[in-house]
């Protein structure tokens, strides 16, 4: 059974169709990619999954159960965790406290014997945040703050992890480390949805890739299949001067501006 499933989800803002009857499924123990040009509706569908946006039509199923009307906090308690495209860190708290408070919030609803301080300690090492553990989060670089959001999400021990551009603001080396971490998490059984600009990373780590354009799902398949898809080529050619193929697995480092313009 898929960890998360969208069934014909549509979102309309007034006359604008942001998401148009999208079917999508996220499997456990795998990384599912979601890419598309700017304004394709990635963040909107992301918010539908997270419970911050009600779909105009369609259903969202979490492990087979309809959660379309469930509020954000109730979804979290069923094992869903997420990060934000625009940072939503707890800026006045230290990095350690950001993670610890997430573990404490989890402990409050899970009512188990977990030790939040220990959870925070472990995640500081695992995500590589030990050096900045005592800094206030609004004083650290944006890329690092994204990792804090990731660590915070993991502190709730989710079975499903939704990531909205976790790699932006990271350098090449950090991106590679993030990719390894995500592969690790998937191998432990976690279902991961990855919305990402960095096509190289998407192609490297994802098991399946979904491509959105103008709110519609135009392609779904393995990274290799998606890259060859003519519809995908067209969508990206229309948006920039570079094809998806060129930025593929063996492509250049994707942090260059032209790449961003093409895939953004």
């Amino acid at each position: 059974m898929p960890a998360l499933q969208a069934e014909r989800v549509s979102v309309r803002f007034g006359g604008v169709v942001a998401v148009d009857s999208v079917d999508l499924s996220i499997e456990p123990a795998a990384i599912t990619g979601l890419i598309g040009p700017n304004g394709a509706g990635k963040t909107t569908i992301f918010n539908v999954f997270g419970g911050l946006q009600q779909p105009t039509e369609g259903k969202v199923l979490l492990e087979g159960r309809d959660i379309t009307r469930l509020k954000a906090h109730a979804r979290a308690r069923r094992g869903m965790a997420r990060t934000f495209q625009r940072l939503e860190v707890f800026g006045t708290l230290s990095v350690r406290d950001n993670i610890q408070v997430a573990a404490e919030i989890r402990k409050a609803w899970a009512r188990d014997r977990s030790r939040p301080a220990a959870v925070a300690d472990e995640l500081l090492d695992r995500i590589g945040l030990r050096d900045v553990a005592e800094s206030r989060v609004d004083a650290i670089p944006t890329g690092t703050a994204r990792l804090v959001e990731l660590a915070r999400a993991l502190a709730t021990r989710p079975s499903l992890l939704l990531l909205d551009e976790p790699g932006s603001g990271l350098d090449h080396q950090e991106t590679a480390a993030l990719g390894d971490l995500l592969l690790d998490l998937a191998s432990e059984g976690m279902a991961v949805l990855l919305v990402e600009h960095d096509v190289e990373m998407v192609m490297r780590v994802c098991d399946r890739v979904n491509v959105l354009d103008f709110g519609r799902l135009i392609a779904e398949g393995t990274p290799a299949e998606v890259q060859r898809d003519p519809a995908v080529q067209a969508a990206y050619l229309g948006a920039g001067d570079e094809t998806l193929e060129e930025a593929g697995p063996e492509g250049r480092p994707s942090d260059t501006p032209s790449d961003r313009a093409a895939v953004g």
Partner: protein, 645 residues
Amino acid sequence: MTTFLSFTIVGIVVGCIYALTSTGLVVTYITSGIFNFAHGAIGMVAAFAYWELTVKEHWPVPLALLFVLFVLAPVMGFLIDRLLMRNLHGKPEVITLVITLGLMLFLLGLAETRWDPGFPRTIPKFFAGHDVNLFGVVVSYHQIVVVVVAVAVAIGLRLFLFRTRSGIALRAVVDDPGLAALNGAPPARVRSMGWAIGAMLASLAGILLAPLVTLDILLLTLLVINGYAAAIVGRLRSLPLTFGGGLLLGLFESYAVGYVPGSLLSQLRPTLPVIFLFVALLILPQDRLRVGRAAGRHTTRVPALRTTLMAAGGFVVVAWFVSGQLSVTNLITGGEGLVVALVLLSLLLLTGYGGQISAAQLTFVGFGAFAMGRLGEGGSLLGVFAAVGLAAAGGALVALVTLRVRGLYLALSTVAFAQAMVTVFFQNNNVFGQGGALGVARVHLPGISLQSDRAFFVACSVVFAAAAIGVLALRRASFGRRLAAMSDSTAACATLGMNIAWTKLAVFTVSAGLAGLAGAFYGGLRGSVGSNDFQMLNSLALLLLLAIWGLDSVTGVLLAGLSYALFPVIQSHVPSIHSLVFLATGLGALGLARNPDGVMSKLAPAGDSLRGWWAKRSRGAPLPGERLQGEIVPDEEEALAGVAG
């Protein structure tokens, strides 16, 4: 039928005035994103200026009208925007709220100083003495003028917004300031225009209303609550709905006056707009969880438990020593300062840590004083428990009713609650007894007498120190981290599984309970309490005071409390300045436009270097570089002990 018609006409006339003022409020809000609590105060100042020009200086009416509406009002709006609001873009909502609240208190204080409230004034109606008979109902020319003006303004505003370049620019800025700027509409100028139009409409409403009621500073300022209610009906966005809301409120009030039995009415009447506002707020659709990063907030570093305990102990010792040197009067003044500090501490927990805004903190203090007065006869400890319990229950109730709203709407709800409680509860003869004063005993501990002024002063300091330890311990604990997290990003907390409602309920309950405890001691200190002690405006002054000193500094709270208690003392030396409290706190809050983090954030570096110097001296070596950037704040409790000494 004639009765019905006459109440309808009165309702429409008053409703038109509400519609005018609330339209101005909404125009300012949609152009600047700032809800102007001082809107009514601006109208009040305009009405008094108009009185001064026509009645005192004998200017011709048209000239005075022209001057007030087209010179004074726009200039006021323009100056407010330029001097105060310009820098507030992207600042935390509580700061923008506090600044307009400060403006309201400042204008109130200014008006009471300029125009002695003890001196009755009236503004003659327009075309006084002329009236027409409409189906057997006498309608004055003034009433007709009001309706005609309101309709003209509505049509004029519509034409302005849809047919003129400036109006279209204004609407564009509302939709998307960045985009409008790209297309050549400077948001700054449009914002100034929004403030000017808002001030003109407030002034117009003030001048039209004043002849119908009395020319009273407080009355005209608080009439803005009716404006708030109508504006909420329009969701702070839609001008036609706002206009309709104003009319509806006018009619609702008028029919209530006409058809509700007199005895019930005398109780209900002052609260009608408040009830309307409350209902309008409650039927608002639930606030969506919003994402979007707020600007970095300044926070005060939380000292370690050991430091807190030492400082608190030191503080009590100092208080005990100082109490021996103080006269009875000064003991009472100082004790009041400590009690006010305790109230501010409860507000610090709620607003500074929890990010929830309350304009009703004195209401909970009042509940506490009431419970102590009724159940604490002979100083029984039961009274203190009842005080905490009743106030906590009140806080829980407010939280439950307002679970769905936050920020501005929460502030408005608590304003409505505080105002309603004053008229329904505190001014009720059954509550504080005939004469409006309820005797409150000083708490009596087994084996320790607290009846002397000195002993009670020391008891107050012990209670404050204990409460400060408790609040800081709460901040260090998991609950405190969760409050900070909720305050930083409610959306993120929800996606981690936090039940926001429970957390909010908990912090409201604890905060109100603490305020109730303060109430028991306030009553004991004064010997008796009355409804005047728990006015909504004074609650606002306390909120301002907290913001002025820094929302989350315990040292700041103590200094704020002591300074607040000194106001009456200073006031007695400058009788020419009425309501010094409002003037001073208002002015202080306006200062937040320059330094939104408050006084303590400025004192902090000084305290820090002092500590560094001290450490160097005592250890002969510099402090290890343990302080991180953005954390340059002194250990509060050390400063606390130092200052109290």
